[in-house]
Symmetry: C2
Subunit: 230 residues, 2 copies
DNA sequence: CGTGGCTTTGACCGTTTGGTCAAATCATTA
DNA sequence: TAATGATTTGACCAAACGGTCAAAGCCACG
């Protein structure tokens, strides 16, 4: 899961549960598709829902829009998912793990500055390759995270606390310029996701220039100067 | 408009058109309230609309919600504004100028690093004092800025280009470490607005600690190290 | 105190929304 | 190929939506 090949732009992220181990015991939470048609249609629905939710937010999205985008009738869509809420929840569950992978990969054994710069690079690459996923989360959180708050204060908090402790250790060992480790992580989220979430604004301001052109070097420079040896 | 007194948290920003010069010729665009009641109710509606739009986005907000929050019946609200669109437009017009003031204040005559750090400080203060305004714009832009795109590629672009040129001049004069000026400005938007737009997430991760506690020093340090003399 | 304009409201309208259901169609396999 | 379960659909529903309207209430001023 380390390197992201980005031949496919604006495509759904690789499904962590695609091609499951044969005869895998069926987990309670996500009913495994029993047929080809189910697999195809459930995938099409989630793909369409990502389009619509990321562009309109939960309340702004309509079941009809999602059904149309998936090439299904509304009752047919509701044959696969019991409600709009359920589609959103399924999407959330599927995306969240992959979304946090770049942070999980930060390695205690690596060189501190390299690890952080690599995290920034991975996260920026996510914004470039998966802007819909970024906007999906942005919509949810800007509007108060009503459907995701529990996960944030448990799983996400645990992961961030762990990595913050790691960073803290690095700075205490003098291997990194001192910073507030949590806010360092926040700054990486902020700076990288901004390129996805505020894409239209950046393009409106830049005109012809693609925001993602200068972004990698800019962020690399920023964090090198901020964290590196003087 | 330079210093922001923040005694009132989560209150609407000062209306640039409040207390207009006596007998001012009435501009075409915004009908000046003729009566006390109009002034009070229009203000209450915009205040309520800011609450609702910033929390739900345009499509997610309903006229009934806004009316209820303003303490009016729906037909009564629609006596003051012809449509939901019109409320949103009025709010946008009222907020935009004030929202861009911190950037306008960046002064070519000042010390480069001081000017940028002061801009960061003002912008962060805006996020702290006016998070609803920040989320109002965030909702709009994440969802593709359908109601604001024209302004971005004209007014905003012009302002940013001007300030970017100023920064470019500073770095060429060797008074600032070299950076891509546009991306520098983007980074300031990103880092400061993140504290408003993603507030729930930051609080979920931090637990007790207030995100705004360590933010000023963190950002100050970041930009000092990035832009200052080694 | 009465009149004219400003304000408020209950009732209403057509449309959109999330969701249901029974019936029809399709695909698979015995 | 016949039967059975999976899939699809048109018709429908109640609630919510943005917005309208005529009538009623209220207020300021002569």
């Amino acid at each position: 899961m380390a390197t992201l090949s980005v031949k496919e732009l604006h495509r759904p992220m690789p499904d962590p549960q695609a091609a499951p181990p044969e005869k895998a015991a069926q987990g309670k939470s996500r009913p495994r598709p029993r047929t080809r048609i189910q697999a195809r249609n459930r995938a099409a629905i989630l793909e369409a829902a990502l389009d619509v939710f990321s562009a309109q937010g939960f309340r702004g999205a309509t079941v009809d829009q999602i059904a149309a985008a998936a090439g299904l009738s509304k009752p047919n869509l509701l044959y696969y998912f019991p409600s709009k809420e359920a589609i959103h929840a399924a999407l959330l569950e599927r995306l969240l793990d992959t979304w946090l992978d770049p942070l999980r990969e930060m390695d205690a054994e690596g060189d501190p500055l390299d690890e952080i710069l690599a995290y920034v690079r991975r996260k920026l690459e996510m914004s470039r390759a998966y802007p819909r996923e970024s906007r999906f989360f942005a919509n949810e959180i800007v509007q108060g995270a009503p459907r995701i708050h529990a996960v944030l204060s448990t799983d996400l908090k645990a992961l961030v606390d762990e990595k913050a402790a790691l960073i803290q250790g690095w700075t205490e060992a003098g291997r990194l310029a001192p910073v507030h480790p949590h806010h360092l992580i926040f700054s990486i989220w902020s700076l990288t996701q901004h390129y996805a979430d505020f894409d239209v604004q950046l393009r409106a301001v830049l005109g012809e220039e693609d925001p993602f052109e200068a972004a990698p070097e800019f962020l690399d420079t920023l964090y090198r100067r901020m964290l590196g040896p003087t």
